[in-house]
């Protein structure tokens, strides 16, 4: 049974529909991320589950029961905020004890539970300090400890890593995953950073303009995007306009023509018709470059510029009327030297990993 279930959730603000989710199930014990650009409604969704925001219509079920009539403080949730929201006038121990006190845990037990949760986040012994005396990373871990010490049913995380610097963020990511797996709490994680979402989640949902565009495992989202938006938002992609020339009978592959460059046969998730304008979503790392340009399988391209990224080489290539970006682990060699602007090369679009979408 799903621990958290959203049904036909709608909310408007200033005349605009900011939340419009038909259905979403989050399973017991899973790490689920809500991913999307600013303003897509992911935080609103999280806050609706928390009860801090009231939807205009629809149902939210936690543990199978409709929580419309249940106020935030009775939903048994744990929440970590973007700026941690540690109470500045209380010590670390008092901060962590807060939730336990509201649940009338005995004073004798509280001290032990505080010590346990602090060691769980690798911060033993700081009970008597105040939040302003801690660094950002430490505050974040205290916020986590405070939210899980009373073993809530669901853990809500509102971009908890975005206020940390890059190196710390990556380190905390691993910490977070370890903690969640150790505790086994159903977790909902909001972020605009796709790398975080892909690295941490069991499943994730990509949101746009209040709607859930696609829900799936990180692999599904990255490799089988079902819309141009998801293809572009997650991992970045080239979008090349083309026209359908032929469709196979089963509707699974089509042959499309890229103006001025040639034809290529690709898989499609949607039924298409001859003559229809489409867009090819091809990830930069899935384009294969070759020299000399092979006839037949490859498209003709001309290199506009080459850049060294440290971990890869990036080439801006003109194919037909369009510019693509290709990434290769090793430099392409032309006539025995590294490829440079002006070189004519062949570009092969990998049929399996590329998607075609209606324009």
């Amino acid at each position: 049974m799903a621990v958290v279930r959203l049904e036909r959730l709608k909310r408007s603000f200033a005349g605009r529909l900011v939340l419009d989710i038909d259905e979403l199930d989050i399973h017991d014990g899973e790490f689920f991320s809500l991913l999307g650009p600013s303003g897509c409604g992911k935080t609103t969704t999280l806050r609706s589950i928390a009860g801090l925001v009231e939807p205009d219509s629809g149902r939210i079920l936690i543990g199978g029961r409709d929580v419309a009539a249940v106020p935030t403080w009775q939903r048994n949730l744990g929440m970590v905020f973007q700026k941690y929201a540690l109470f500045p006038h209380l010590t670390i121990a008092e901060n962590i004890a807060y939730g336990l006190e509201e649940r009338h845990v005995r004073a004798a037990d509280i001290a032990a539970r505080i010590a346990e949760s602090l060691s769980l986040v690798s911060l033993p012994g700081i009970e008597r300090r105040y939040p302003h005396q801690l660094s950002g990373g430490q505050q974040q871990r205290v916020a986590m400890a405070r939210a899980v010490v009373y073993r809530p049913d669901v853990l809500l995380l509102d971009e908890p890593l975005s206020n940390l610097d890059v190196k710390l963020r990556v380190a905390m990511r691993a910490e977070l995953k370890r903690l969640q797996q150790a505790l086994g709490i159903t977790t909902i994680f909001v972020t605009h950073d796709q790398h975080e979402a892909l690295a941490l989640s069991d499943r994730l949902g990509v949101m746009r303009d209040g709607r859930m565009d696609q829900v799936g495992t990180p692999q599904e989202i990255y490799e089988s995007p079902r819309s141009v938006f998801v293809a572009d938002f997650v991992g970045g992609t080239n979008l090349v306009p083309a026209v359908v020339r032929t469709c196979d009978g089963a509707g699974r592959t089509v042959t499309v023509e890229i103006e001025g460059a040639g034809t290529v046969t690709l898989a499609t998730a949607q039924p298409l018709s001859n003559g229809q304008r489409v867009r090819i979503a091809a990830k930069p790392e899935r384009l294969r470059l070759s020299w000399p340009a092979q006839r037949g399988a490859a498209l003709d391209g001309v290199i506009d510029s080459a850049a060294y990224l440290g971990s890869a080489y990036s080439y801006a290539i003109t194919v037909g009327a369009h510019q693509l970006e290709a990434r290769c682990a090793e430099a392409l060699r032309v006539e025995g030297r590294p490829a440079a602007a002006g070189d004519r090369i062949g570009v092969t679009i990998d049929a399996d990993s590329t998607r075609v979408f209606g324009a």
């Binding site: 928390a50 009860g51 801090l52 106020p71 935030t72 403080w73 009775q74 048994n76 949730l77 744990g78 929440m79 905020f81 973007q82 700026k83 929201a85 540690l86 109470f87 500045p88 006038h89 807060y98 939730g99 509201e102 649940r103 405070r146 939210a147 009373y150 809500l156």
Partner: protein, 263 residues
């Protein structure tokens, strides 16, 4: 700025502050005079006039009345101010600007109008006791200061703290008691101090509401000025200044520059 300009500015500052402080300094000095007249400079100094004051009942009672009225009015103003500030800053109301403007209006309207309007109103509605009239009148003119002080403090408190408290299991009242109230303490103290000084200082609203037996200190000094011109007024003024100084210093220490127009 060129050097001669700097010296000119400095010189002007000295003159201007001398101008501003002269009357007050004069009064304080004269209050220690040993003579029966207000001649300056005083020939020798003593505490004669303070002792004289201590024996004069009417100044003592006026001081007590002022302190009592100020205390009650301030407490009331602060309690109402906290409620109003919570509603304005945290409650998502429509027309917040209009409501705030309405609550602040005692500040912009001339005090004498408030005084006369209240006099007519109290008479018409049968509120006869001067003490009650003073407390209520002072409450309404102090409330805007209280709202502003508490509101300013509240605006500096991250709303996420209240959200966090709720997710941790505390309802609205417990969130207020455990999180908001402790963090609002500076604002509440400042509100109390501003209200107290406003009430204690007040002349023109109180003028119309005093009774034969209930007179506030500023008005007692005022009426005294009209027929008794000796250093005893200087002495009581010094006492007045001393009380206000202590309170204003505390306000400055807590909140930065005080800015409170009053009549």
């Amino acid at each position: 700025m060129a050097s001669p300009g700097k010296w000119l500015l400095a010189g002007y500052n000295v003159l201007a502050y001398a101008f501003l402080l002269a009357p007050i300094a004069l009064i304080v000095v004269l209050s220690f005079s040993n003579s029966a007249t207000l001649a300056f400079p005083p020939q020798d100094l003593s505490l004669r006039w303070f002792r004289y004051l201590a024996g004069r009942d009417e100044f003592l009672t006026a001081t007590i009345v002022s302190l009592q009225v100020a205390a009650l009015a301030s407490i009331g103003a602060v309690m109402l101010g906290v409620l109003a500030a919570l509603a304005l800053v945290r409650g998502r109301l429509r027309g917040t600007a209009v409501i705030e403007g309405a609550l602040m209006s005692p500040l912009i309207l001339p005090g004498i109008i408030t005084g006369i309007a209240l006099l007519q109103f109290f008479t018409a509605t049968g509120l006869v006791r001067s003490f009650d009239r003073l407390v209520l009148a002072h409450l309404i003119i102090c409330m805007p200061y209280a709202i502003r002080s508490v509101g300013a403090c509240l605006r500096g408190i991250d709303p996420a703290l209240e959200d966090a408290s709720r997710t941790l299991g505390a309802n609205g009242w417990r969130t207020f008691r455990r999180v908001l109230l402790p963090l609002l303490r500076p604002g509440i103290v400042a509100a109390f101090i501003f209200s107290f000084v406003t009430s204690f200082d007040n002349v023109v609203v109180s003028m119309y509401l005093i009774g034969a037996d209930t007179v506030t200190l500023p008005i007692r000094i005022l009426t005294y000025l009209e027929w008794q011109f000796d250093p005893s007024i200087a002495a009581i003024s010094t006492v007045f200044i001393a009380v206000t100084t202590v309170v204003v210093f505390a306000a400055e220490g807590l909140t930065g520059m005080s800015r409170r127009p009053s009549v």
